[in-house]
């Protein structure tokens, strides 16, 4: 099974997970798919990176120390509103808990999609098709 994506421009993906193993895996998968990646360890760092640079996609864990993914997503949506940014950045939650109420919390916080751990390249491919198809060649 091989996944290859041809991009018009290299997608910039911001990832967040407090687990080093999970960050390494996400980075490995995303680079294999031709993305550039910046890794962070919590929601606070995500917010900082979001305000400092431009991103095509944010992929983050929900349960993180310091600031969790739900609060980070909610704050990002507030910032987008305050700045009148017309197209919001896709935020995808990566979580071990995919009970309906947990998924609902993610959507209520402003996340666009919820994918279950363990992450697979196949799941990433689906995210790309749903959220980054405008960057496909």
């Amino acid at each position: 099974m091989a996944y290859s994506f041809k991009w018009k421009i290299t997608p910039s993906v911001l990832i967040a997970d407090d687990s080093l193993v999970n960050r390494k895996i996400m980075e490995g998968f995303l680079r294999q798919c031709g993305c550039s990646v910046q890794a962070t360890v919590d929601g606070k760092q995500v917010l900082q990176q979001f305000t400092d640079s431009n991103w095509d996609l944010i992929l983050m864990d929900v349960n993180m120390p310091v600031m969790d993914g739900l609060e980070a997503a909610s704050r990002i949506r507030e910032i987008e509103k305050q700045r009148n940014i017309p197209a919001h950045i896709p935020i995808v939650a990566l979580t071990a808990g995919i009970m309906p109420d947990e998924q609902l919390k993610c959507y209520e916080a402003g996340m666009d999609e919820v994918i279950a751990k363990p992450l697979s390249i196949e799941a990433l491919g689906s995210v790309f098709k749903n959220k980054l198809s405008h960057l496909f060649e």
Binding site: A2, L20, D61, P118, I121
Partner: protein, 118 residues
């Protein structure tokens, strides 16, 4: 003792599924398994200290972290015992935690035994 906490049909490493998740990149999978194994001693110490001190937030978050990493790497037995430990922490039930921790230590040794020697 492990049979009390881990369903017997679970394996240490569900390699076929893991490889599928890793797009048949065995090198990346081995590297990540090694990362996991290298970091586990510190997490087990944190967990042991948290259990002894009944520090439930640290207990729950550490067990949750191990559970998530084990799930990602298809380490079924470690995932199962980490889940039990997380649930015990959430219920604030320390009675069986020592026994669960011993099972996790045994399962970690079983994983170390199947990983390539460094």
């Amino acid at each position: 003792m492990s049979e009390e906490y881990i369903p017997e049909n679970l394996v240490i490493l569900a390699k076929a599924t893991a490889l599928e998740n890793f797009c048949d990149n065995a090198e990346l999978l081995d590297e990540m398994l090694q990362y996991f194994a290298d970091g586990i001693a510190e997490k087990l110490t944190t967990l042991k200290t948290a259990i002894a001190a009944k520090d439930y937030p640290v207990w729950i978050s550490t067990a949750h972290l191990i559970k998530g990493e084990a799930a990602t790497l298809c380490l079924e037995r470690i995932n199962a015992i980490a889940l039990k430990l997380e649930q015990a922490g959430k219920r604030q039930e320390p009675a069986e935690a020592e026994a669960m921790l011993a099972v996790m230590t045994t399962e970690m040794q079983a994983l170390a035994d199947i990983l390539p020697k460094k």
